[in-house]
Symmetry: C2
Subunit: 299 residues, 2 copies
């Protein structure tokens, strides 16, 4: 398959009510890549510092991720630390160290400039635009963003939205971007900004897809015990785009199934720390949870 | 069909950010009855005061509700007033006047003691037990409750749960009843208390059904503009039980479809004040939204 992700590689320090772990492999492109790799080979573009552990690069390669586009710069790898409240819905960012990420200037390797499917993980809209301009052969580009960019770089973000085919937003981001309380109205407003498809992520409450030819809602997989929700959104996007790229189709039926694959993948993500929930993965495990979801949602 | 509801008839005063209405016809049995009546005849047992407006009784009769079991006592009808925050998820009870409801002693008319399907709307567990003891022919009894009874009458509520077939709870009630944060675990714990089926209502986030032979999740219908959420839960229960009673079956397939009918009915409820969203109803309108939901949730 022909799938490219541009985003962050990070070392995360995560506190939950049960546990505290420091310097766990994370980052949007990592969670996405590890998740999408269940469906086929993924190319990853991002930047790391001199401290990035060789075994982490090996892990990505062994998972079927092409890391040619991972640039190593002088300095330290991007670091994020955060704490979750007991209800999981409240996350406090304790510290963000951009480090080498401040100099991120995405360069897509020539071998991957022809990628048909592209995920612009959360990054500055400027970096997203630079990446996008190098992917002329794309069939379907999906972008993520966050409140910080909506508030601080709205014009550049609108430019991104005018150029991509789809966008993934959580409910808070959708409301902030549009000023609409109703999520449905917000989704329609986002579509007016450019993307033909809007994916709304509602965490434990599932996800919603709105496009000109499709409207699809599904609940989250009923996970009994959440260990760490970090990366769940990128993991969802990884399952979603991984399935689309492997099917090489953006028909409504494919998109609906992709939402289920995204949900199945994210459900594994939250069952472990960092990418641990995704580590022992295989397409077979994804299929079994996909089938469970089909059963749970079928009439 | 053979469906009986025992619950409240009320005059509600409701404040939303847009509007304020006083003495609107409401109450759990009213919202349930008006909703279930789309599927066939419903018998209603409850109590009103001398001030209950004849036109409201006429309205119920015209909707196909048998009001023989509505007892009129000296005093005033039960009154509730509340205010919703802009996000709809926060509701403040401003005042509760029990009035005649304090003397509610449900008496099921002989003609309805053989009802096969019974809904115990939110009421004191004592009243629910009295009602239940008069419904020996029941095939499927579903109970609702609220935080107040979970906290103040837990033993009697456990007795109710030991005798009914299903219970509807919102997420907060499920957590309070079981002490479990995880809704899935909470649902399993509730089943251990007796009911074979647990319906979890999550408002704008949909609903979830867990039973020994079925597990089904569905999102809410994407309503663009909420006018008043009062009664949405009872309206859901009305569509759910109305469909079950009309199908005269509790097979898993029926229960799954009933969840969709409950969701379709509740989506109309929130689009008007009090029962107004449900007033112009017909089975045809319910079917059209049922089909929309099928389309939105089908893979």
């Amino acid at each position: 398959m022909s799938l490219l992700v541009i985003g962050t590689l990070a070392y995360d320090s995560i506190e939950t009510v049960h546990e505290h772990r420091a310097n766990v492999l994370g980052g949007s492109a990592v969670h996405f890549g590890v998740s999408a790799a269940n469906f086929g080979r993924v190319a990853l573009v991002g930047v790391v510092g001199q401290d990035f552990r060789p075994e982490d690069l090996d892990f990505l390669e062994q998972r079927g991720i092409d890391t040619e586009g991972v640039e190593r710069l002088d300095g330290r790898t991007f670091r994020w630390s955060g704490r979750y409240e007991a209800d999981w819905n409240t996350r406090h960012t304790l510290e963000t160290q951009l480090n080498v990420l401040a100099r991120f200037d995405p360069k897509i390797p020539i071998a991957h400039q022809g990628s048909r499917y592209v995920f612009l993980a959360n990054a500055s809209p400027e970096a997203q635009l630079k990446a996008l301009s190098q992917c002329e052969a794309r069939v379907f580009a999906l972008a993520d963003t966050m409140n910080f960019w909506i508030e601080s770089a709205r014009d550049a973000l609108h430019e991104v939205l005018g150029k991509v085919d789809g966008v993934v937003l959580n409910d808070e981001e959708a409301r902030l971007l549009t000023g609409e309380r109703s999520l449905i109205r917000a989704a329609h407003r986002v579509r007016e900004l450019g993307p033909r498809y809007v994916v709304l992520k509602k965490g434990e409450h599932g996800a919603f897809l709105i496009g000109e030819d499709v409207q699809y809602a599904l609940p989250a997989y009923p996970v009994e015990e959440v260990i760490d929700p970090t990366g769940a959104g990128d993991s969802f996007a990884g399952g979603f785009m991984g399935y689309i790229a492997s099917a090489d189709s953006i028909e409504p039926r494919t998109l609906r199934r992709a939402m289920l694959y995204g949900t199945a993948t994210a459900s594994y993500c939250v069952q472990g720390f960092g990418v641990e929930g995704l580590r022992p993965h295989s397409r077979g495990k994804i299929e079994s949870r996909f089938n469970e979801l089909l059963d749970i949602t079928a009439v």
